[in-house]
Symmetry: D2
Subunit: 454 residues, 4 copies
C-alpha cells in the first residue's frame, strides 16, 4: 500500500527556528513524502513569517523538491486536512520573555522561562492558545498529530492532553539530545554505542547511561563532568546555549547517582545561578535580551535572497536540535520507525512516583501509534521528592492557566522552589499579571481589580 503524501503545518512558522525545521525535513526527504508545508503566524509576526518563509521556499527549491511551502495568517485554512501540526509559537513574542526574566530578577528572583515564575507566566499565556488550536484541529484535522515544542513544553503538553483531550500530542525538547552528545563526547564513546534512559519532567529529568557491553557508565560520567579533581576538563557540560556552565556540587550529584539535566542547575545550585543572572540582569544581558539581538541578526541574514541553507549562526540561538528532533519524531511516527526518543507523553505508570495521568518526559519507542514509554519505576527519595514537588507545581499552574483562578496561581507561585514564598510571591505575581495583561484574558477580572487598587 502506497502511503499518501503528507501535509505539515507549523504554528509559529515565522520563528527563527524554521530553517532548522525545513532542513530537518529536507534531510528526511526520502522517508517523508511531503506534499505541502504550511507556515502559520499571526499579524504581529507577519514580517518575520515573510522573511523566514521566503527563505524556507528557497531551501526547498535548492534541494530540488516539489514541496509547496505556504505562508498564511489564516490558521484554520492551514489546519484543514493536516497530518502533522507542530507548534513553536511564542505568545507575546520575545518581549514577553524579557518580562518573564527581568521582572523576577528585579526582585532578586530567578525568572527562568520554563519552570520558574517566567515559565509559569509563559504557561498562562500559551495554554489558552493551545486549547484554541486543538478546538480547530478537532474540526479541521481530527486525525492529525500535534508535535509541541512550545515551552514550557511539558505543561503545554499536559494541558493539550488532559484539558484539550488531544491524545495525539507529543511534547518535544532539545535538552535530552544535547545531554546525549555531551555523554558521548565526555566518555569518548560514539553516540550509537551508548544506551540512555531518561525520566522526569520537561527541563527536569535525569538520565542513566550504559555502553554496549552493558556496563553502566553513569557514575564515571558524573565524575568526568563534575569532579573538581578531574584533570581533563569537559568542554562543556550544560549543552544548551541558554544555560551557563556553572558546575554542580560534585558531592551532591554523586549521592544522586544519576545525571541531572542542565536545567537542574536552577534547583540544585539556585544561589549560584541567581548571582550569575543578577549580573546579566544589571548588564541588560538576560538570556531573552541576548536572544532578541541574535534573532534580529538572524533575520537580517534570512533576508538575503541568496541564502538557501541553514546558517551556522542559528546554532548560537540556543534550542539547537529542537527542530531536528521534531522532524525525526514526525518521520518516526509516519514510518513506524521504533526510534528511541525522549518525549513528553502520558505517564500511565512509567514513573511510579508520579500520578498515572501526568505528562512525563521519558525515553520512548516511537511507533506509528505514538510514543511507547520504557518503564522507569521509582526514583530514590531525594530526586523523587524533587520531581513530585515540580509535578504538583505544574498541575497547579496548568489548572490556574485554564481557569484564570488567581488563588491557584498564587498557590503555584508559593510552592515553586524558585520563587520565595510570602508577600514577595504575591507582589511578583501581581506585577507580572499587570505586565502581561494583554495576553491573559482568563485573568482579566483580577487584573482589573489590581489596576484599580494600584
Amino acid at each position: 500500500m502506497k502511503k499518501k503524501k503528507i501535509k505539515i503545518v507549523t504554528i509559529g512558522g515565522g520563528s527563527s527556528y524554521t530553517p532548522e525545521l525545513i532542513e530537518g525535513f529536507i534531510k528526511r526527504k526520502d522517508e517523508l513524502p511531503i506534499k505541502e508545508i504550511w507556515l502559520v503566524d499571526i499579524e504581529e509576526g507577519k514580517e518575520k513569517l515573510e522573511i523566514v518563509g521566503a527563505m524556507a521556499q528557497r531551501m526547498v527549491k535548492a534541494a530540488g523538491l516539489d514541496w509547496k511551502v505556504n505562508l498564511t495568517l489564516d490558521r484554520r485554512k492551514a489546519l484543514k486536512g493536516a497530518d502533522f501540526v507542530s507548534t513553536q509559537f511564542r505568545v507575546g513574542l520575545l518581549d514577553a520573555r524579557i518580562k518573564d526574566e527581568r521582572i523576577p530578577l528585579s526582585h532578586g528572583i530567578i525568572g527562568q522561562e520554563t519552570n520558574g515564575a517566567g515559565g509559569m507566566f509563559k504557561a498562562f499565556r500559551t495554554i489558552p492558545v493551545i486549547l484554541d488550536i486543538i478546538d480547530d484541529m478537532r474540526e479541521l484535522c481530527p486525525n492529525a498529530w500535534l508535535v509541541n515544542f512550545t515551552n514550557p513544553s511539558g505543561m503545554v503538553t499536559e494541558a493539550a492532553i488532559k484539558y484539550g483531550g488531544w491524545d495525539r500530542t507529543v511534547g518535544l525538547c532539545n535538552v535530552p539530545i544535547n545531554c546525549m552528545f555531551i555523554a558521548s563526547e565526555t566518555l569518548d564513546v560514539p553516540l550509537e554505542e551508548l544506551t540512555f534512559k531518561f525520566a522526569g519532567l520537561n527541563h527536569f529529568h535525569w538520565h542513566r547511561v550504559w555502553d554496549k557491553e552493558g556496563n553502566e557508565r553513569t557514575e564515571e560520567l558524573i565524575g568526568k563532568l563534575y569532579d573538581p579533581a578531574q584533570k581533563k576538563k569537559p568542554k562543556k557540560d550544560s549543552g544548551v546555549a541558554n544555560i551557563k556552565d556553572i558546575k554542580f556540587n560534585y558531592e551532591q550529584v554523586q549521592d544522586l547517582g544519576i545525571l541531572p539535566c542542565p536545567y537542574h542547575r536552577y534547583y540544585y545550585i539556585t544561589d549560584d545561578m541567581l548571582k550569575d543572572e543578577l549580573e546579566e540582569f544589571k548588564k541588560g544581558e538576560t538570556r531573552a535580551e541576548v536572544v532578541k539581538r541574535t534573532e534580529a541578526e538572524l533575520f537580517e541574514l534570512y533576508k538575503d535572497p541568496k541564502l538557501d541553507y541553514k546558517p551556522e549562526q542559528l546554532t548560537k540561538r540556543g534550542g539547537t536540535h529542537y527542530s531536528d528532533a521534531a522532524c525525526e519524531l514526525i518521520a518516526s511516527i509516519f514510518n513506524d520507525k521504533k526510534t528511541t526518543m525522549v518525549v513528553s507523553t502520558k505517564n500511565n505508570g512509567a514513573i511510579s512516583d508520579l500520578p498515572y495521568d501526568s505528562i512525563v518526559e521519558v525515553s520512548s519507542i516511537i511507533t506509528a501509534n505514538g510514543p511507547q514509554p520504557l518503564n522507569w519505576g521509582k526514583f530514590d527519595p531525594a530526586p523523587r521528592g524533587m520531581v513530585q514537588i515540580m509535578k504538583g507545581m505544574e498541575e497547579t499552574t496548568i489548572s490556574a492557566a485554564v481557569t484564570g483562578n488567581y488563588n491557584k496561581a498564587l498557590h503555584a507561585f508559593t510552592i515553586n522552589p524558585l520563587v520565595p514564598s510570602g508577600q514577595i510571591a504575591k507582589d511578583l505575581l501581581d506585577e507580572m499579571l499587570l505586565a502581561h495583561k494583554k495576553h491573559l484574558p482568563q485573568f482579566a477580572e483580577k487584573i482589573e481589580t489590581l489596576e484599580k487598587n494600584k
Copy 2:
C-alpha cells in the same frame, strides 16, 4: 574493542530441544563468537545427553564451526567461567509430568503443567534446584546471565531473582512468538509490519497489535480468530502444540478487548478444556504421554549418525521457537541489539496492577544490560482481577516451594482457579506430595507424616 569469545552452558542439555538450540546458535554464528558449549545433565539423563550431544556435535561440525561442544554430568565444571547459562531441565523427567497431569485428572481436575496443580508441583520440584544452580553460579561465574526456559518459567524466574538474588535472570517462553505468527497469518500482514504489546504473567498474558500505519488491529484480530460468524476460518489459533484449538467465547473476548494467550483457555473456558482433557486422560493420551512417545521417536532419530540438522519432527514436540528465542535473547544481550522480545523480568511498575517486585512477562527492549520493559500501565477490571489472583497464587506457590511449608502449599492450591477448593484440594495435594516425594526434599517431614497416616 574486540569482544571476547563466549562460553555457553545448557543445564538439561540432554533435552530433545537441544538441536533447536544448536541450530539457533548456528544461525547466529556471525553475531555470536562462541568458544564452547557445555551440555550438562544428570545421571538419569546420561543416555539422552550422549545421543543428543553427539548430534549437536555433528550439527556444529556440519556447519563448519570450530565450537567445542562438551557433554558432562559435572555441573560445576561446566559453569566455571560461563557467560550464559540456559536452563531447560525437567526434575523427575517426563514421568513426573505425567503424574502432574494424570493425578489431578483422576479427580476430575485439570492438571496443567504450568500454572495448574501440575505446574505448582513442577515449581515445587524445580525451584530448589534453580536456587542450587544459582549458588554454584555465584561462585563460579558471577557475571553470567541465566536464561531460564524451564517451566513454570515465570515462577522459576521470580524465585531466581527474589530468593536467589540473581538479577541477571531472564525468563523465556515460546508462547508470545507463536501468538505473533498467528496474528500475522490471520491478519495477512507480514510479521515485521506489526507492532505488539504483551503484558501479564508467563502463560497468562494478553496482547494488543498495531499495523505500521498506527492503526490498532486487535479488535479485528479477535473477530477473525473467534467470531463464529466469521466465514474464513483461521488455520489455527492456539499456536502451541500442547493446547487444543477449542474456541474462546467470542462475546467474552470481545468485552476483554485484548487478545488472550492460548493458555487462557484453561481459565476462560475451563469446563470445555476439562471435558477434552478427561477424554485424553481416558485414552492415555494426556499431553505428557503424547510428548513422551514423541520424544522417544525423536531420540531414535537423533541416534542416526548421519543426522546433522534439526529434524522436522521436532516441531510436533511443542515448544517450537522456544530455543530459538533463547538464542535470540543471548545474541541480543551480547550485542546490545535492542530487539523487542517478550520476557519474564522484574515488573518495577511496568504493570501498575501488580506488585513492584513481581516478575512479569512483558514486551521489552533487550540491551546488553538486560531487558528494559515497555510500560503497560493498568488493565481493565476483569483481566486485572485475573492477573492479580494468578500473581497471588504464584507468590504463595513460590514461597511454599522455598520453605516447604505445607499450609502455604494448601493455600496456594485453594486459591488457584483451576483447583476446586475444599477437601478435594487437600486430598489432591497430599496425593501429589506422596507421588513426587523423591523430588521434594523440602516437604520431607510432611510427606513422612502423610505416609504414616495413610
Copy 3:
C-alpha cells in the same frame, strides 16, 4: 441548638425484617427524635406492607411513642424531605431468589445470592432500581443519607456512589457483627473488651482481633474455631443462619493468618459447599425456599393484632442484627457518635491493594459526616489475589448491570470463581436472563434475541 426531628423512609418496608428495624428505632428513642417513619413498597408487596406496617404501628404505640408510621406505595411522596432512606427491597421477591439459587444448582453450580451467579443477577435486577431511587432523592431529599442493606450490598453501594453519584450512601451488612459475637463467645472475652479490624468486600472480608492488653488473639481464635484437634468445639462458627457450619481447612486458614468471613466458605471450600447445596437442591430446601416458608410463617404471626413486639422466630430468618446495624448507623450519623462499625464505603486508599475509587467493607468511625475508615494497608499475597479478583468481578458486574452489555455480563460470569467458565457459563447466563426477563429491562434486546433463537 436543638436538633430538628427526623423523617426516615424505608424502601421495601413490607419486608419481614421491618419489625427488627422498628425495634431498633424504639431502642434508640432517646437519641433519635423521630417524627415520621415511611414504609414504602410496590404494588406486588402491598399485602405484606399492610400486615407488617400495622404491626410496626402497634410496636410504636406499645412503646408509647408519638411517631407517625406511614404506609405507602408512592415512593416519591415518602421521599420528600427525608433525612434517612434505608433500602431493603428485593426486586422479584423471593421467587427471584429461588431462581438465583436453583438455576445454577441445576447445572451443578453454586448460586449464592450475593456474589455467585445468583448474586450477580440480583445486582442486575437491583442496580437500575437503586439508580432510580437516587434520581428521586436528588430531587426530593438532596441531603438525605442512603443506608443500603439490599444485597449484594457492596455492589449496590458501589453503583449508588460511582454511577449514581450519591456520596452519602453507606452499605451495611450483618455479617461483621456476627463475626464479632462469635469471637467474643469463642475466646470467652466480653465483646466490649475486644478490638476488631475488618477489611475486604461485602461478604468477602477478613478480620483480626486484639484484646484490651493489646495482644492479638487472631491465631488463637483460628485455632479454637477450626483446629480439628481442638477439644472444646465452638458452638457455631458461621454465625449467619444462611451459611452451614462446614469447617474450613484448618491448615489453609492457619496460613491465611486472619479470620475469613462465613461467606469465604464458598471460595475456600467450594467443593464441600457445592455438595451440600446439591443435597438441599434435591430436597427442595435451598436457602431461598426455606426462607420463603419461614417468611410465610412470620407473616402469619405478624397478622396477630395483639403482637406488638419483634417475635423470636424472626431470628431464624437469617439476617439477624441487620436492621439493628442500620438503626445504629443512623443514630451514629445523627449524633456524631464516633462508633466503630464495619460498613461499605469509599476505599480512598484504606486498602492499598484495591482501586482508590472502589467501595470496600472496612472498620470505620461513624461521624456526622459519614464513615471514616481505619487504614488497613496491604494484604498478604493469597488474600490479596482473592480480594482483587472479586473486585474485578464486582466492577464488571456493576458495569454490565448499568449498561445492559451482554458481553460484559458474560465476562463477569467467566471470571467469577464460583462459575465454571466456558460454554456452561454462557448457557447459565442465557437461561437466567430468560428466567428474570421481567426485571431486566436493560437487557431487553439481548433477551429478545435469545428467545428467538431458543
Copy 4:
C-alpha cells in the same frame, strides 16, 4: 484480671518540661497504676535533673501518691523492665539549638530547629542516640513502648522504626492539639463538638474540621483566621509559642482548602518569616536564646523547695501540651482507650501520596496495640508536592544521620526548601558540621578533613 503496676522511664528527665509530665501523670492517677518513674539524664544535665527531679518528687508527694520517683544517670538501670519509655532529650543542650538557629541566620537562612538546616542537624545528633537507646531497650525492656517527643519528632520516630526496628514507637507533638484549641476558640464551638482529621508529617501537616452536624467548617475557619477583611481578629493563630503570628497569604490558603499547621509559615511565607528571624538574630533573640533564658528562670523557680505544682511560667516555654499529650498517649495504650490522637506512626497507605513504609503524622485511634490511623487518602496536587518533597528530604536526612554519609547530607540540604542550594548550602553544612563536631561521631572522618582544609 488485675493489671500490673507500671514503670515509666523518661530519658532527658532533667528537662524543664518534666513538671508538666508529672502533672499529666498525676491528673491520670486513677487510670495509671504507676509504680515507679525514672528520670534519666546525662552527666552534663545532672544539676538540672536534681533540681527538677526534686520538684517532681514534691509534686507526687503533694498529690498523696506512693509513686517512687528515681533520678539517675544510669540509663540501663532505669530501662530494666520498663513499660513505657519517653524521650525528651536534647543532645548538646540548648547551646546546640542556638547554633542550629544562629549559624544559618548568619548566612541569611532560616535555621528552624525541626525541619530546616537546624532540624536536620538536630536529627544528625539525635538519631544515633535514639538507636543506642533502642539497643538497650531490646535487651532490657523488650516489650516497652517508646514514646518519642524529641524533635525532629517525625524523623526520630522514622529512624527508630525503620532503622532501629522498634515497632512500638509512637512520635508525639503538641502542635496538633494547639491547632484544635485554636479551631475551637475561633469557631466558638466547644472542642468536644468538633471532629478533626490531620495528615502530613511532623510540623508539616494539614487538617480539616467538622462540627457535630457533620458540616465541614474548614473553609469558614480559614476565613476567620486569615481573611484580612475579617472584622473580628482571632486572638492568636499560630498556637505555639515559638512561632510568630505572621499571617499566611489568605488567597493561597483559600486555594489550599485545608488548614496549614503553624510551621507551614516557614514554607508558605518563607520570605516574611526570614525577615522576622533576621531581626531577632540581630537582637540576640532567636527562639533558642529566648528559651535558654526562660529555662534559666524556670530552674530558679524549680529550686524553690516549696514549689510542688507546675508553675504558670512553664507555658511561656513553648511546647505546652507536649507532655500532657505523652501522658494521654500512655494512658490510652495502657487502658485501650481508643482515644483519637494525632501521632507519628507507620503510614501503611493511610496517606496514598507517601511511601508505604514512611512515618507520617496522622489522626489515629489509640488502642492497647498502638495507633490505628484513620485513612486520609490523597492530597490535592499542591500540598501533595509539598509533603512529598519534605518526605524525600526527611528520608535523605535520616539516611545521612545513620550512615554519616557527607554526600547524602549535602543532598538533603540541597533539596530542603528552606536552604538555598549551591555553594552556600555546602558552606553552611561544613560550618555546622564543625560547630557540632562533638555530637556527630558518625561524621568524624569528614569533619577531620574539613578541619585540615580550613
